[in-house]
């Protein structure tokens, strides 16, 4: 997965920082967006291989971001992993229905996090072949 680009959409800079450290240690390139509007702008500019998306965001929640990603021909195929502190009971099915690859609840276990990232990228590589 060396060199793959991951977009972190997270308004809590400390949470984003921690995830970035983990991803950079696995030699991913990391770009960040702190709110819903920046998320789409950065996604269009950077064309990431994967998006990690928080749900509670300033300027519109993660579901609104996902809707716009999935409506954009250039961005719709980028896999999305939702990472949120919200209750998975209602939000996990909603996220999957909206097109997310996986839902992880904060605090996320590192192994779960990295394996979800690997799985999402692998499936994307598989789909592009």
């Amino acid at each position: 997965m060396k060199g793959k680009k991951v977009l972190l959409v997270e308004d809590d800079t400390d949470v984003a920082h921690a995830m970035a450290v983990r991803l950079k240690a696995k030699e991913f390139t990391v770009v960040m967006a702190p709110d819903a509007i920046a998320a789409l702008a950065v996604a269009r500019k950077e064309k990431p291989d994967l998006i990690i998306l928080d749900l509670g965001l300033p300027g519109g929640d993660g579901f609104a971001v996902m809707q716009r990603l999935k409506a954009n021909v250039e961005l719709m195929l980028i896999p999305v992993i939702v990472v949120s502190a919200r209750d998975p009971l209602f939000n996990e099915p909603r996220a999957i229905e909206a097109g997310a690859e996986a839902f992880l609840q904060k605090p996320v276990d590192n192994e779960d996090f990295l394996s979800a990232v690997d799985n999402a990228l692998m499936r994307r590589a598989h789909a592009q072949r």
Binding site: D12, D14, V15, A18, M19, V21, R22, A25, A85, R86, D87, L89, E92, P93, I96, E97, E101, A102, K106, P107, V108, N110, N119, M122, R123, H126
Partner: protein
């Protein structure tokens, strides 16, 4: 009467507000906790540079306490859910011995650190129970954690499981320690919310006093019982029971809603067919568990039920009984297909999978037939249908 009603309504409103408050607070606490957890593990994994053994030891202490804080927040949320009847169990047919063994393994490190050994005396074979595996493992972890906490060093905690003596439709599980015991007059109160037994071994040890309360709520939601054995002279023994899984009890749950027979019922099946026979039993079980987890995410708690997997000569069959009509079952099928097609372990060369819906004809039940008789009639029909369906597994279309 109106005044009484107003008091009751006021009380409910207060409970609801308290529930919302607790839920809000625990979610807000989660985020900073996540950051502490993340950076602690980042340091422990050496991503911030090499560590001395003392630094590692101190970080281990930090991590242990962060985990404890996380459990406390989870308990807080569960307790507030229980109070507002929002605690939900997602039940299916569960091999209870596996759940018990996993909980014992996950607690054994804590026990070893205190020189306490965990012994298991489990019946060699037990029927499947109708339960939420994650919630039962939570109950087990709570009871084991208490037993270890209250035990002096160099003693033993014993976990037993067997069919209940006085009810063959229940499995009975017990956790016994050699601690100082609990006075019989407190046997009921220890299950109260926020009640704490003073622990002479660990004065000042913090806990919220919610563990046994949540255990009781969870076991009760399963239709089981939990109690403290007051007949023993030394140590404490906690017992809890869980209902055995049978097609009849499951069908009753799905078929009867609000005292009446549901208008429609569907059988939704997932076939998993290996192109070559499984290389070993473990590979088969691993994949089956994965699919089971995915399917459990798709179903609605207590409206749909995932039946035990059927092992057929040419593959595996997983069936969901759903209390829904044609449209509802198509929606469920779409959710299932989405989940299954995203699974990395299922979408590999060498494995094929198929999903399918068939509606169950409820017309065959005469109008006005007592519910119990309807349940029996449908159960036998459904058993036959599942057997026939199993025969078709692996017949590629």
């Amino acid at each position: 009467l109106t005044a009484q009603k107003e008091v009751a309504e006021g009380r409910e409103e207060k409970l609801r507000m308290k529930g919302e408050f607790l839920s809000h607070v625990s979610h807000e606490l989660r985020s900073p906790l996540a950051v502490v957890y993340q950076f602690t593990t980042i340091l422990l994994d050496g991503l911030g540079g090499p560590l001395t053994s003392t630094q590692r030891e101190y970080l281990d202490v930090t991590l242990r306490n962060v985990s404890q804080l996380k459990y406390m927040i989870d308990d807080l949320l569960d307790a507030s859910r229980a109070e507002t009847s929002k605690l939900i169990v997602k039940r299916s047919a569960v091999p209870i011995l596996d759940v018990i063994e996993q909980s014992v393994v996950s607690q054994s490190a804590v026990a070893r650190a205190k020189n306490i050994s965990i012994k298991t005396e489990l019946a060699t074979e037990l029927p499947l129970v109708y339960a939420d595996a994650a919630r039962i493992s939570q109950v087990m972890t709570n009871l084991l954690d208490n037993a270890i906490k209250f035990s002096p060093a160099n003693t033993m905690v014993t976990v037993r499981a067997k069919l209940a003596d006085n009810d063959p439709n229940m499995v009975s599980i017990s956790v016994a320690d050699c601690g100082c015991g609990i006075p019989p007059e407190l046997a009921e109160r220890i299950f109260d919310r926020l009640y704490q037994v003073q622990n002479p071994l660990q004065a000042g040890r913090r806990s919220l006093g919610l563990g046994l309360y949540i255990c009781k709520e969870l076991v009760t939601l399963h239709g089981g019982w939990i109690w403290l054995d007051t007949t023993r002279k030394s140590g404490s023994t906690f017992y809890f029971t869980l209902p055995v899984f049978t097609i009849e009890t499951t069908i009753r749950r799905v078929l009867v809603r609000d005292g009446a027979v549901v208008p429609a019922l569907a059988l939704i099946t997932t076939e998993i067919v290996p192109i070559k026979p499984w290389s070993n039993e473990r590979e088969r079980e691993r994949l089956l568990n994965k699919v089971r987890q995915l399917l459990e995410r798709c179903i609605r708690p207590d409206v749909d039920v995932l039946l035990p997997a059927q092992h057929c000569p040419d593959g595996e069959l997983l069936s969901i009984l759903a209390g829904t009509d044609d449209n509802g079952s198509r929606a469920l099928l779409t959710r299932m297909n989405q989940q299954l097609s995203r699974s990395a372990s299922l979408n590999v060369p060498g494995v094929k999978w198929f999903t399918d819906v068939e509606l169950v004809d409820l017309q065959a039940i005469p109008l006005g037939l007592p519910i119990e008789e309807a349940v029996i009639k449908l159960s036998s029909q459904l058993k036959e249908r599942l057997q026939n369906r199993a025969k078709k597994v692996g017949v590629l279309r």
